[in-house]
Subunit: 216 residues, 2 copies
């Protein structure tokens, strides 16, 4: 019974995702879905990414997904970036319908990218398309090198994997080759980046990879 | 519609939880539900806990919950500990029915505690009782000090919070008072421990706290 209902939701979600893509393409706005565990460093990465995009003339807006609270949205708003807080009231992922409801809050003429910070979770967010052009999975060094095989769908469905808190790698038992190999095994096309978002290291490479999307 | 279905599942789950508690109480077996993010250090904490319990004559069995794979179950089996792997095939939490189906796999005469490693996730596992006597939330230092307010249900419903990877606290921006204050604010009775599970530091305190449960 549970499976049947989930399928219905997924179908409805997919229609909503398609409509969102159409609208965003018309406005030439790119949407990026940032996923990862609690504490993977999503907000810090997003802030660094926004700054690097700004340097090449690309303006961002942010949708902050959280089960509860608005700590991260406040951090982003304090930088003068348009942001909407989406509280899921207990749900473990964002759905496309929520994004569709939020879209009118932004002036799509003024921005070129919408960055969505999904709920901190390696399971459910991987299942739901939310109108995004790119899915990006963040995995921090302290989380350990065994996470790809444990949460394969996340890495199967992501266009890129960003290894965050990369500056901490010498402090942990951490086999980088294992992560790389396991990620490529489930998704041969996945792009892998290494970032210390607080210093901005590695974020530049990510921006270089994104750049062709904005020249369409 | 989604909310209605979730409620039905929760009710059914609760009946199953009650049956499990009755059976475990009859056999004088304690069940502990260990929850936390991916990479919070659940398996390492469990291994340390099992060893400390063994020193005081308490034998453990483990149920390893994972979306996919059996890496952690293999680690635990290699120590000679009875273990059953529970794969949820994509679901983000364990339900009581799964535990009920697994229980006959153990010889309950030989063990005094069943430790369940829930799916790595701070959202869904908090919602489902699975027959446990205690819910324990693990939160590692590298995840950051803002997680209690972001995932309040987890800390509201847990009997204990174990701050793991505590040896790493000087390497991260980390405000311990914030975690303690926010945890006590949502759950005044929560017990807080600090552990470096690889060295076993702090696990002893946790065992001392558990001990009265075994004297019933």
């Amino acid at each position: 019974m549970e499976i049947k209902v989930v399928r219905q939701i997924l179908e409805w979600n997919q229609n909503c995702h398609d409509e969102l893509q159409e609208e965003l393409n018309k406005k030439k706005v790119v949407m990026i879905n940032i996923m990862g565990s609690p504490g993977a460093g999503k907000t810090t990465f997003i802030l660094s990414l926004i700054n690097k995009l700004k340097e090449i003339g690309i303006n961002s807006a942010v949708i902050e997904g959280d089960v509860a609270g608005q700590i991260d949205a406040e951090t982003i708003a304090s930088q003068g970036i348009p942001v909407v807080q989406l509280n899921t009231d207990g749900a473990c992922h964002i759905e496309a319908m929520s994004i569709k409801n939020i879209l009118p809050e932004f002036n799509l003429e003024d921005i070129q990218v919408i960055i969505v910070e999904n709920i901190g979770n390696l399971v459910c967010p991987a299942e739901f398309d939310i109108g995004e052009h790119l899915k990006v999975a963040l995995l921090s060094v302290p989380e350990g090198d065994d996470k790809v095989n444990k949460y394969p769908l996340m890495f199967m469905r992501s266009n890129a994997l960003v290894i965050t808190k990369y500056d901490m790698k010498d402090y942990f038992d951490y086999n980088e080759k294992r992560i790389m190999d396991e990620a490529k095994a489930v998704n041969k096309d996945i792009r892998i980046f290494k970032a210390d978002s607080r210093k901005g290291t590695g974020v530049q490479d990510f921006v270089a990879w994104l750049r062709p999307l904005f020249n369409k």
